[in-house]
Amino acid sequence: MATPAAVHTDHAHAPAGGKYFVPEPSAWPFVLTFALVICIIAGWGYLEEHSLGPVPAYGGAALAIYIIFRWVRGVCLESEGGLYNTQVGMTYRMGMAWFIFSEVMFFAAFFGALWYAREMSIPWLSGEGAKLSTHTNLWPGFENTWPTNGPAQLGGKFETVGAWGLPFINTVLLLTSGFTLEAAHHALKENHRKVCIAWMWVTVALGCLFLYFQVTEYVHAFHELNLTMHSGVYGSTFFMLTGFHGFHVTLGTLMLAIIAVRLMLGHFKPDSHFGFEGVAWYWHFVDVVWIGLFIFVYVA
């Protein structure tokens, strides 16, 4: 996950110039929380079917996006203004690494659910192990197969998305995007800014193409395969895993685009570009999650 440049960054405990960097007080975190709570109340209205009008949803989201933009912009200006020393750079790298670890654990919960359904609950419902009476009394005809929408066949008959069509193309796209991103990184380190920007936009394009195919696949699944979130535990795990992954690809593509724009504005130096590296780590993480998805959701 870590690029060599980040690992070999000088692990200096002492701040450069003998002074610690301490930011000014900021109201952004408080306002961001306020915006998130407005979004939550709007989400509550949607889920519980209370009409709150469009203002909370759009207003909260717009405020949150504006605050995130201002906050990130402030950090970029501090960085470009030379306020950060090597210690701050290390802080951001470590922070990003721990954050990605937390994301890994978030996906682990859903991969765990998939494993449990296939190795525990489905075999037990079909009469294996100590749960025989559930099988014989409730669903005597149920057999251990995968994919399945359960003994009650929730959501009705469905078909699955084949692994070697669009999902395989998407695997190739995402893996390629990992290489194009690294090509951009190498170009940046060798100070070939134009080459770097070109590779960045290629990476963004690959991310967009991936998302386009993913949406195409969802439409196909909904309308022609009758595969929805209602399709028992298969539909649940399929859409939860691919859905959250797609959400992360969306965020990653946006962040890559922002980095590309910053490169065009002249940000980053060959030896100092944490923003670039952080987003690159995130993109590789999204890549690795997809490999897991392709193997355990589509192929196996």
Partner: protein, 544 residues
């Protein structure tokens, strides 16, 4: 004791980074001391609210039959009491202590990510406003237990999304706080402050941070599946669709068991700091304390299903989780031994922090032993969901985690405010707390062994006597805490005796080298870590 000659680089009159005025100071602050204070004030507010909920529970249980509240509301009280005390009380209190003490103990200016620190704090009041607002909805608050087991929790009224999103927000707050502490400890230590010279409070918090970052996302995943099961037609926890309600219990407790060490490891750190000070001796077995903490953290990931012995697991599962759970007694035993060995032949004095720390060692160990009893799967079939379990986890959480928080606040508040608290009222507070907490929870062991169910507002008449005793203890404990509040407010209003820089005769560590009260930014340049300041951790430091 050359501890005053390297404080000359401190400036508290640095106007550029000085605090703002009025309410905006607290909303905009990125300062670790301001945020530590906010965390602690928030935590004690939540202790008060959660305490009121526990009084509703104890009042209802004073006599058998229904007296004061509707059973549904009683269930909301048990559910919210747990959520408020765990996520609103103990966790923010320890984050508050970490905010105050980690930068001062390792010798840096502030936490590594000060703006993220502000965000992590301000999420909490909003999250608990959402959670507690459900009580005022016509359909009531969450009443299915804090563990949120489906399918019961899915029957909650229209406040259900607020429960789920509040848990998400608490998760974001915990993860941001944990990343902050971990990065601060790994990246901001003063030169010479090597990992194995670090105060144990920093060590236990580093490991706690790792547990938080690893498990809070899993809880977020679990409650997200609850949300989609209720609103989007998924069937993760529905057997007819191929899912399993027990799956939720596994995912929840994969978070939930490390969570109990999140609540107690920082307490170990506080107690390991206080006991050497008042025993005036080097901590016995510093390295083994670090390794024991790490071992407990590792084991905490492979014991979760001991919360589910009666759910119908395969026999192999029961055995594995029984034996792995019992293994935890080994590193915990190392710790208790080390605390006792530190006190052995020490020049002990019993100021209030030490009283709470010694009571911690004694009473936490009782909770540990009842935990061992619960770890035995065949025996747990009898104990499960009885008041024995309630007694067990309250012994580790109240005279365990909460006593260590009180001990830590008494120990460090002279450094924070520059004033000594009243020792007389501190000791009064301690003795009343120690007596009442045992009156509250000791009889619950007997109730549980005799078969009284938890989370039920009524009980069989033969349990009345012990329940009356327990209720009297709970009210006494609650009232006693006001002594603490007034004692602390006295320090904060600058009306106590001024504190010296060192505060305690036997205190060592960087935090005692700076003035009391500590300046707004403690160390603007990295301090020198003298051997004397690590001498309560390592004997060898004195030999240099």
């Amino acid at each position: 004791m050359a501890h005053t000659d390297h404080t000359t680089h401190l400036h508290d009159d640095h106007a550029h980074h000085g605090p703002e005025k009025g309410i905006m100071r607290w909303i905009k602050t990125t300062n670790h001391k301001d945020l530590g204070t906010l965390y602690l004030v928030f935590a004690f507010t939540m202790f008060f609210i959660g305490g009121l909920m526990s009084l509703v529970i104890r009042a209802e249980l004073f006599h058998p039959g229904l007296q004061f509240v509707h059973p549904e509301f009683f269930n909301s009280m048990t559910t919210l009491h747990a959520l408020v005390m765990i996520f609103g009380g103990v966790m923010p209190a320890f984050t508050g202590l970490a905010n105050w003490m980690v930068p001062m103990q390792i010798g840096c200016s502030d936490l590594a990510l000060p703006r993220i620190n502000n965000w992590g704090f301000w999420i909490l009041p909003f999250a608990f406003a959402l959670l507690l607002s459900t009580l005022f909805m016509p359909s009531g608050g969450p009443a299915g237990g804090w563990t949120m087991y489906p399918p019961l929790v899915l029957q909650m009224g229209e406040g259900f999304p607020f429960l789920i999103f509040a848990v998400h927000l608490m998760g974001i707050s915990s993860i941001t706080g944990a990343i902050n502490v971990a990065v601060t400890i790994l990246n901001m230590r003063a030169p010479g402050m090597t990992l194995l010279k670090m105060p144990l409070f920093c060590w236990t918090w580093l490991i706690t941070a790792y547990l938080l970052i690893a498990t809070m996302p899993v809880l977020a995943g679990a409650v997200t599946m609850l949300l989609t099961d209720r609103y989007f037609g998924t069937s993760f926890f529905t057997a007819s669709g191929g899912g399993d309600p027990v799956l939720f219990q596994h995912v929840f407790w994969f978070f939930g068991h490390p969570e109990v060490y999140i609540l107690i490891l920082p307490a170990f750190g506080v107690v390991s700091t206080i006991i050497p000070t008042f025993a005036r001796k080097t901590l016995f077995g510093y390295d083994s304390m670090v390794y024991a903490t790490a071992s407990i953290a590792f084991l905490s990931f492979i014991v979760w299903a001991h919360h589910m012995f009666t759910v119908g697991m395969p026999l192999a599962g029961e055995l594995f989780f029984m034996f792995s759970t019992m293994l935890i007694a080994v590193p915990t035993g190392v710790k208790v031994f080390n605390w006792v060995a530190t006190m052995w032949r020490g020049s002990m004095t019993f100021e209030t922090p030490m009283l709470f720390a010694v009571a911690f060692v004694f009473l936490f160990t009782i909770g540990g032993f009842s935990g061992l009893m619960l770890a035995m799967a065949p025996v747990d079939f009898q104990y499960h969901d009885t008041y024995f379990v309630v007694a067990h986890f309250h012994y580790v959480l109240v005279p365990g985690a909460v006593f260590s928080i009180l001990a830590g606040v008494y120990y460090w508040i002279p450094k924070w405010t520059g004033r000594m608290y009243s020792e007389f009222w501190g000791k009064t507070h301690f003795w009343l707390s120690a007596v009442f907490i045992n009156i509250t929870f000791f009889p619950q062991h007997f109730l549980g062994l005799a078969g009284m169910q938890r989370r039920v507002p009524d009980y069989a008449v033969q349990f009345t006597d012990f329940n009356e005793i327990s209720t009297i203890g709970a009210f006494g404990f609650f009232v006693s805490q006001f002594i603490f509040i007034f004692n602390m407010l006295r320090c904060m209003s600058k009306s106590g005796v001024p504190a010296t820089d060192r505060v305690w005769e036997g205190a060592h560590g960087l935090e005692w080298t700076v003035p009391s009260p500590a300046p707004y930014h403690t160390f603007e340049v990295p301090p020198y870590v003298g051997d004397d300041e690590t001498s309560n951790l390592h004997d060898t430091a004195k030999a240099h």
